[in-house]
Structures are given as structure tokens and as C-alpha cells.
């Protein structure tokens, strides 16, 4: 799909700049330029596409949709699915949590949404496509949704409501059916375009610095670390690799934009992809800052259970990835 771009970059680096093909600096620069352009093209495309879906299903509508009728378990899927198309800022997680449970959405369903939202988004989908191809991307997106459903369902079954903080319990006692004050914007598709474009531009701008730094580090590692370097340390056969990678990733905080370019190089140099994905999911999905925010609504015990269940689910999907990819 991007052969044409590779030809242009090859010509630019090896002919225009006169760097030797196969030299470390030439290859590192080629990788950097090619990856940067490719990822920004994909990023623009996917953010606009997701912006369009999101324009028709804004978060308020998702909430009303989930509260209005009984879903008999399908709500776990819907929450996880909508979590992936809703752009998410970790500082929105608490207002979102309260807004959902206040409207009568079950705790487990709310958590499913909160788990899937940072895990799969426009940025991670675009970067997965650019770095690992469509097959790995589909497996990633599907497993992100399934993982959120399972973790949300498990947490729902554990009946953790009594472990919420007191002020949240008070809100729950006075919960009302979702306010019907949400008015759908009656805009034609053409009227929506400027807003969608602006939003997409904002997302791309917001992550561009992370991507550039990530690809730059990736480019250096690509040129200077020998292929198969990591294989001597981490192999598919080592049963502890996935849990260790996950647990190392949990406290760290980064978005997909920063961690994915580095992950791509790790995979090229011999780290099994499932192990790398488990690490990445742990980094973007759970973090200490996120835990501190959620402490406002969860007691420490509940927070530990929440992190524990999600971590376990990430470890399991890491093993599954290594089996099927």
C-alpha cells in the first residue's frame, strides 16, 4: 500500500542526500522519514473517519442509549465498542464514571467503557495499521473490545458497589433516569465537516510530538541494535515474559503514540508480538496517574481489584496473541 512512498523516500535519502544504502545512518534516517510520513497519512485518515462516527454518536447519546432499555449483557459489548470510538482524555474518566452510574448504567458496563476507551482509539488504530498491517490491527481491536467486556463483566459480577467512595454512594442513592435534556444536533453531514476536521487536526497536533520522538528513538534502535538482539533474553517459550512485561508496564503512563514506535522496533528485533502488545496495553490502559484520579470514586480496595482484574486480562491476551500471531 505504501510502496510508492518507500520509493520516494529511498530516492530522497540515497540519491538526493547521497547517503549510502545499507549504512547505519542512512537506514535509520530512511526508517524515520518513511515511518513519519506513513503514520501521519494514516492518522489523518483514521481520525477523520472516527470523528465522523463520533459526531453521530457523541458520549451523551451513548449514555442515553445504554440507559434507555435493558440489554441483557449486550450492553457490555456496546460500552466497549463505543469506548473505542470516543476520544478519551484520562481527566474525563471520573466525570464520565459518575455520569454513567448516575444514569443507572451498571458498574461493570461503566468500567468496560473506561477500560476500552484508552486501549483502542483512532491514534492506536492508525499506528497499528502503519506498523504491523491490517491483520494485526484487527486482532488488536477485537481483542481490546473482548478484553474490556470480560474485565467489565468480571468486575460487575464481583458486586463492588459497596467499595465506592461515600460521596459516590450518595449520588447512587439519588440516581435518576438519564436526563432527557440532551438535544441532538440537527446538522447535515456537510455542516458537520468543519467540526470533524478541526477535532481531527487537534488530535493529530496533540500526539505529533510524541510520535516524532517515538519514531526517532525507534529509528536509532532500528539502525543500531542488531536483529534478534532481544531474542536471547525474551523468547516465546519463556512463560514469564508476558506477565513481567505487563507488570512493568502497569505503573508507566504514556499514550499509544509514544509507546508504539518503540514497540515496533522491539518486535523487529525479536520480542514476540504478544509480549510487546501486553506491555503496550498495560502502559496505555493502566497507570499510576489514572489510579490517583480514580481514587476519587473508588476505595483503595476496589482500585486494587480493578487494576488486578484488568492486569490479569491483559496477561491472558498477551498469551493469546503469541499463540495466534
Amino acid at each position: 500500500m505504501f510502496d510508492w512512498l518507500q520509493h520516494i523516500v529511498d530516492w530522497l535519502i540515497y540519491s538526493v542526500f547521497g547517503l549510502t544504502h545499507g549504512s547505519k545512518i542512512g537506514d535509520a534516517l530512511n526508517f524515520f522519514v518513511f515511518d513519519t510520513i506513513k503514520i501521519f497519512i494514516l492518522l489523518g485518515f483514521i481520525t477523520i473517519l472516527m470523528g465522523m462516527i463520533n459526531s453521530y454518536f457523541p458520549i451523551d447519546r451513548v449514555r442515553n442509549f445504554l440507559t434507555k432499555r435493558k440489554w441483557y449483557g449486550l450492553d457490555y459489548f456496546l460500552a466497549s465498542f463505543f469506548g473505542t470510538i470516543t476520544p478519551f482524555c484520562s481527566c474525563s474518566s471520573v466525570p464520565l464514571f459518575i455520569g454513567f452510574v448516575k444514569g443507572g448504567i451498571p458498574l461493570g458496563v461503566t468500567l468496560a467503557f473506561l477500560i476500552s476507551s484508552p486501549l483502542v482509539d483512532a491514534v492506536s488504530v492508525a499506528m497499528f495499521l502503519g506498523m504491523f498491517g491490517w491483520k494485526t490491527t484487527i486482532v488488536y481491536v477485537v481483542s481490546g473490545i473482548v478484553l474490556s467486556m470480560i474485565a467489565g463483566y468480571t468486575l460487575g459480577k464481583l458486586k463492588l458497589e459497596h467499595l465506592l467512595t461515600d460521596w459516590v454512594k450518595k449520588i447512587l442513592e439519588n440516581k435518576q433516569a438519564a436526563d432527557e435534556n440532551y438535544e441532538e444536533e440537527k446538522q447535515t453531514f456537510v455542516q458537520r465537516i468543519p467540526g470533524i476536521g478541526k477535532e481531527a487536526l487537534g488530535i493529530v497536533k496533540g500526539v505529533s510530538l510524541y510520535i516524532l520522538i517515538g519514531i526517532a528513538i525507534g529509528g536509532l534502535m532500528h539502525g543500531f541494535i542488531p536483529t534478534g538482539f532481544f531474542e536471547q533474553y525474551i523468547t516465546k517459550e519463556n512463560p514469564f515474559a508476558v506477565p513481567i512485561a505487563t507488570i512493568v508496564g502497569v505503573p508507566m503512563y504514556s499514550n499509544a503514540a509514544g509507546v508504539l514506535p518503540i514497540m515496533q522496533v522491539l518486535v523487529q528485533k525479536g520480542i514476540p508480538i504478544g509480549t510487546a502488545i501486553a506491555f503496550m496495553m498495560a502502559v496505555v490502559g493502566l497507570s499510576i496517574p489514572e489510579g490517583l484520579l480514580l481514587k476519587k470514586v473508588m476505595t483503595t480496595k476496589m482500585l486494587l481489584i480493578f487494576f488486578g482484574v484488568v492486569t490479569a486480562c491483559i496477561i491472558i491476551s498477551g498469551y493469546v496473541f503469541n499463540l495466534i500471531l
Binding site: C91, S92, V94, G99, K102, G202
Partner: protein, 79 residues
């Protein structure tokens, strides 16, 4: 009449940018406005918001879930 502007957000960069944009818009317009920043989550939930940052003008939610730029805020304040 003085405009009442509220910025709701728990203090992430997006919320700070919105707040600074509001201050800048008010300055550029040369109008008087009460600009308040609400960082307390319990307080925030009274306004029934789902995504932050939220920009309210005279207790009406104008922008939610994204940063409003200075020109947009100027339009909202003069409308």
C-alpha cells in the same frame, strides 16, 4: 452585563489551555467578565458533565470535551 464564564476540568493540560484561552479572549475583547475555574470533581458533577474541559457562559454549557480556541471563545462571549 458582566458575563459569567466557568471552566470545568480537574486540571489537565487541556483544561488549563481552555482557561488561559478564556482569559486571553476576555482581554482581547476588553470586556469585563467573571472567569472561574472549577477543579473540584464533586462541584463539577452538579453541572452534569461527562467529558472535560467544559466551557460555560452564563451557566449554559457551550463547549465540552475539547479545547475551545481564542476566536471561538470571543464569538461565544459577544453573541
Amino acid at each position: 452585563m458582566k458575563k459569567q464564564v466557568k471552566v470545568l476540568g480537574p486540571g489537565c493540560t487541556k483544561c488549563k489551555t481552555t482557561y488561559n484561552n478564556v482569559l486571553e479572549a476576555v482581554k482581547q475583547l476588553g470586556i469585563e467578565a467573571d472567569v472561574t475555574k472549577i477543579e473540584d470533581i464533586e462541584e463539577m458533577m452538579k453541572y452534569n458533565v461527562l467529558t472535560t474541559p467544559v466551557l460555560m457562559v452564563d451557566d449554559v454549557i457551550k463547549v465540552k470535551g475539547r479545547v475551545a480556541d481564542i476566536n471561538e471563545i470571543k464569538q461565544l462571549l459577544t453573541a
